[in-house]
Symmetry: C2
DNA sequence: CGAATTGCCTAACAGTTGTAGGAAATCTAG
DNA sequence: CTAGATTTCCTACAACTGTTAGGCAATTCG
């Protein structure tokens, strides 16, 4: 089976680590090659270029994130589930800012030509993205929200969590009181309130029926 | 006063336009120079390098954004003000995605050495950032929220608005019903509810006093 | 008109991306 | 154990980006 050495997964994992260390943008082919003790053309045996590398890192990291959240939310429902889910994402982002950055720097493929080839890394990112979306949906469903409101609930929850974490990570909350931890808890309380009200709406509609 | 031609502002404005056209990351010195019909070393008369260019674009765009929101919220208070403010930001982001990207790609200067020189562009970005923060605070204050809760309210509002716009711009909401416009309106309703409840808390506290 | 000012240029170098082709290391079949 | 296939990694090279240095030319002001 040929000579052993690097493989695609090892390269991508190293790139993810490097992103946490230096920032996602600083992960270039040549920096990564130096870091792996290898010449840069070598990496082209494992990845097809810089774009492919970045997309592959995004997919890899989205899977790690889904692993983290799905572990955290294994038990519980409603408020407990929401807090566990949101905390898992926030912890992930603070422990691995470069990885978290990678999850955000992805645009949806621009409605490509039907015949266009979809690279493996893009397909993997789409799949991993859907996995995360399904987890968010599971959190919302545990509140018992009506199907009509599910999409809205997911968007509300995701927007708030992602927005808060992004701003926190950018340092926006570092220069004023109260602590970011305190307002994070409050924000989750408010979000829990909104989701609970949506669920109540669903229950009321059921009564009428 | 010498020969007329480009000046720093013109270069930065062109870079902002280019960001909307090609994406913020695609705005490189050489691309910008070509776009301006000039050789790349020429730009070094106006900017001090690629980092300076990006930071300057961020500052420039943060000022444009503050102009847009402050115009929109000139009149009104409470819910009307919130909607006008949030819509102004969202419209800005959708009309100028590259510019909006520029506002987010900025990290706070890493607690630099007290003696470290602060480049003009960084100082400008900080000032413009504060201008936007003050506008957000004005929206919150119009609800009559207690001073203790102001910071939390600003963080909640900013997180939701920024998070929603970021995800929408990334195309996350493009593949499911209902329309993003519909859920945006709902999200602002919920946010208005949260801010209103915070204001009620302030009013109650006043009664007790 | 002369001089100062300023804008833009060419030349050149370092670093990065990406391609092409070859040499060495390892695994597997006989 | 040997031969072949496979795969890794390398050197060499071309194109492009960022950046510095130094010089020519256009414009404005006295």
């Amino acid at each position: 089976m040929g000579r052993p050495g690097l493989n695609r997964t090892a390269v991508i994992a190293a790139a993810a680590d490097l992103a946490d260390e230096l920032g996602f943008d600083a992960v270039t082919i040549s920096v990564l090659a130096r870091h792996l003790g290898v010449r840069s053309p070598t990496l082209y045996s494992h990845i097809s270029g810089a774009t492919d590398l970045r997309t592959a890192v995004t997919a890899y990291v989205l899977d790690e994130l889904a692993d983290a959240t799905s572990t955290a939310i294994a038990a519980g429902e409603g408020r407990d589930l929401l807090v566990a889910y949101a905390d898992a994402i926030r912890d992930f982002a603070r422990r691995s800012p470069g990885r978290y950055d990678a999850t955000t720097r992805q645009r949806v493929p621009p409605a490509s030509d039907p015949a266009a080839e979809i690279p493996d890394s893009v397909a993997a990112a789409i799949t991993a993205g859907r996995r995360n979306a399904d987890l968010a949906l599971a959190v919302v469903r545990s509140y018992g929200i009506a199907q009509t409101d599910e999409t809205y609930a997911v968007r509300l929850m995701s927007s708030l969590i992602h927005g808060y974490i992004t701003l926190e990570l950018a340092g926006t909350f570092a220069h004023s009181e109260p602590s970011s931890d305190a307002t994070w808890g409050e924000a989750l309380d408010d979000l829990d309130g909104s989701l609970t009200r949506l669920a109540a709406r669903a229950a009321a509609a059921n009564m009428v029926r």
